[in-house]
């Protein structure tokens, strides 16, 4: 559906280092017609991008492609200077571990691990993230605690099993997990949709301030009220040329 608020498609400032560049991306699920056709999407390092669109516009598919879970039939996804399509499957998974943090709408956490262990998961799967988490001189455990506190998760909750936390607390823990070790790109897929308004605003504030300058942030949401906090706002309808009625 077309929104009434003004939307713009920005081109990335030519001088900034690119966290993500997508060119000529075309994708179809096996046995189905093409659902995604993205001619261009650039995200510079430190950018915050708000991506909005209705369900069925191909958001989840695009996120899968950006995360390297699936590979497009045509076009390139260059993340942190590396063409994802050129990597073999297992290297892609490792690359994702090294460079991307992901926050889902809900069920972000492994329920039987503590909040702290959840936050530390990326460090277990990526040596690069672990090293970067340690770069401030602290152990990864201390870094995890710092991030949790920064994101508003009280200390007495750190060792609790993730399943016992409230939804709001879980989302903050998920954000901390996505942020630990300073990944190149943080992808958030409707992270506030399950939160009430107050929690949603608090969450966004914390994430944006923690991201500032170090990670690029790409957030997908249908809640346009949040768009103003972001550096850029992109509509799926404009991005994905497979959507009927998209502007060329």
């Amino acid at each position: 559906m077309n929104s009434t608020a003004p939307v713009t498609i920005d081109h990335a400032p030519p001088h900034a280092a690119l966290a993500l560049r997508v060119e000529g991306l075309r994708f179809a699920w096996p046995g189905q017609p093409a659902c995604l056709d993205v001619p261009r999407l650039d995200i510079a390092a430190g950018d915050t991008v708000f991506l909005h669109g209705p369900s069925g516009s191909g958001k989840s598919t695009l996120l899968s492609l950006l995360a390297g879970i699936t590979v497009a039939q045509a076009g390139t996804v260059i993340l942190g200077g590396q063409d994802l399509g050129a990597l073999p499957a297992r290297r892609r998974d490792g690359f994702r571990a090294d460079h991307i943090g992901i926050v889902f709408q809900q069920f972000n956490l492994v329920p039987y691990l503590s909040a702290r262990d959840n936050v530390l998961l990326p460090c277990r799967f990526s040596v690069l993230r672990m090293r970067q988490a340690r770069s401030s001189g602290a152990s990864i455990g201390e870094e995890a605690a710092r991030l949790l506190l920064r994101l508003g998760v009280a200390e007495h909750l750190h060792e609790r099993p993730a399943a016992t936390l409230s939804v709001g607390e879980q989302q903050r823990v998920a954000a901390a997990r996505a942020l630990i070790g300073r990944p190149t790109l943080l992808i958030a897929d409707e992270p506030t949709s399950a939160l009430d308004e107050r929690n949603a605003h608090d969450f966004l504030d914390l994430v944006l301030s923690e991201c500032a300058g170090s990670c690029a942030l790409l957030m997908v949401s249908h809640d346009l009220r949040l768009a103003s906090r972001f550096g850029r706002s992109v509509a799926m309808a404009d991005l994905n040329h497979m959507i009927p009625g998209a502007r060329q």
């Binding site: 899968s64 998974d93 889902f104 691990l113 998961l121």
Partner: protein
């Protein structure tokens, strides 16, 4: 390491559903180990019944039958060997000692063995252990009987008690012979042997002359009517036996046993069979081997069933774990990691079940071992698990690993298909 910890914590969080599967593995491993141990205990008990004896000689018969009858008091042969042959063997310059044996009577279900005093001097069992008396001694005398440890314990006899023998054989434990009793010639208990864990415990020992004496006024298995000989009368008769069941032989030079055996088997005169006990026992195990293998196969099948149960339990829980697996993929786990996670979990659970089964068997051995020894004569050896048992446990863990490949593969395919967002 991470995946190992993840697998542990994940399994622990689902312990309710998995506990039954683990218990069934525990029980099946306990069954496997118990079958092994009982089999070894039975083998060892048999082997330990006789030590230091070079040959057992008896009438022409299957070597195994002869051994089973002479040493284990099992079965009744058709004939005996002549006393003359036994004496000739004893006189052979290569022979160090002989123990003549005559079986036939029983007492309340236990076999009576007529033998000479050489029995208590030369019989060895286990690690060349001689027989010892717990109470009393072999005092000689015509109507004296020495009891095996279990006979005394079960029937409550002590030295000085009197008992009467029954004519005819008896099933060792439960069925007393139905023959008539030698009631007019009671025997006095002269001593009780210390427990040995061998068939010696379950027999009564009288002198060869006594065996002759109680049968003097019998003919064809029943007392001759009208003829009753008193104890005093008997001593006037010649009480040398005419026939005995078998004779155990010890040689001065053990290496001569082959030659001696050959001479006895093929020599002129009475048709005899000479058996090397260790060799005959080996033949016994060849016979029982196929039955033992069937037991093993059944135990292995039970374990296979338990492992299938485990795989099924893990598979059933996979659906609820798809989100958990998607999260792991999101933080960088590869589908292969997911596969290994599941396989680790299955193998770990199997190992835990196997260890539990092993502990169960050890506890049972400690708790029930002495009872098994007393009642069945089985030494349930608990002290040394042995390399073969440990490698058996390792084999069980490997089998668990293989069984876990099924849920692992399923999880692998699921995570490949689900990607970041499982379509549940």
């Amino acid at each position: 390491m991470t995946l190992l910890i993840l697998a542990c914590k994940s399994a622990w969080s689902r312990r309710g559903a998995l506990s039954l599967a683990i218990v069934s593995i525990m029980l099946s491993v306990a069954l496997l180990l118990t079958v092994e141990r009982l089999r070894h205990a039975a083998h060892d008990s048999f082997a330990a019944s006789l030590s230091g004896t070079d040959l057992v000689v008896g009438p022409r018969d299957h070597p195994l039958r002869l051994l089973l009858h002479a040493v284990f008091h099992i079965g009744t042969p058709d004939t005996g060997m002549s006393w003359d042959s036994a004496q000739r063997i004893a006189a052979d310059p290569a022979v160090a000692w002989t123990i003549p044996l005559s079986l036939g009577d029983s007492h309340r279900g236990f076999p009576v063995v007529a033998t000479s005093r050489a029995f208590f001097a030369h019989y060895r069992y286990g690690r060349a252990q001689p027989l010892e008396f717990a109470v009393g001694a072999d005092t000689g005398g015509l109507f004296r009987v020495v009891l095996g440890a279990e006979v005394a314990r079960r029937l409550g006899y002590r030295t000085g008690d009197q008992l009467a023998l029954s004519h005819g054989g008896a099933d060792a434990d439960h069925h007393p012979g139905h023959g008539a009793e030698h009631g007019d010639k009671p025997f006095t208990v002269a001593g009780v042997l210390a427990p040995t864990g061998t068939p010696v415990d379950r027999a009564l020992y009288i002198g060869l002359h006594a065996m002759e004496a109680i049968h003097l006024d019998w003919h064809g298995g029943a007392p001759i009517p009208g003829l009753a000989l008193s104890g005093a009368d008997l001593r006037k008769f010649d009480l040398e036996p005419k026939q005995i069941s078998a004779v155990m032989v010890g040689l001065k030079q053990r290496a001569a046993v082959l030659r001696m055996q050959r001479n006895l088997n093929t020599g002129p005169g009475e048709a005899l069979t000479a058996v090397i006990p260790a060799v005959a026992l080996g033949q016994l195990w060849d016979l029982t081997g196929s039955a033992e293998r069937v037991l093993d196969a059944i135990s292995a099948l039970v374990l296979a069933v338990a492992l299938c149960g485990l795989a099924a339990a893990v598979l059933a829980g996979l659906n609820e774990r798809r989100r958990e697996l998607a999260i792991l993929r999101a933080v960088g786990a590869r589908p292969l990691h997911i596969f290994l996670l599941l396989v680790c979990e299955g193998a770990g659970l199997t190992l835990a079940g196997a260890a539990g089964g092993f502990i169960l068997v050890q506890l049972a051995a400690v708790g029930l071992g002495p009872w098994a020894l007393a009642h069945w004569g089985l030494a349930f050896d608990m002290a040394r698990p042995g390399v073969s048992e440990l490698s058996l446990l390792a084999a069980v863990a490997s089998a668990g690993l293989v069984a876990s490949v099924i849920p692992g593969w399923r999880a692998y395919r699921l995570s490949l298909g689900d990607g970041l967002l499982p379509r549940i």
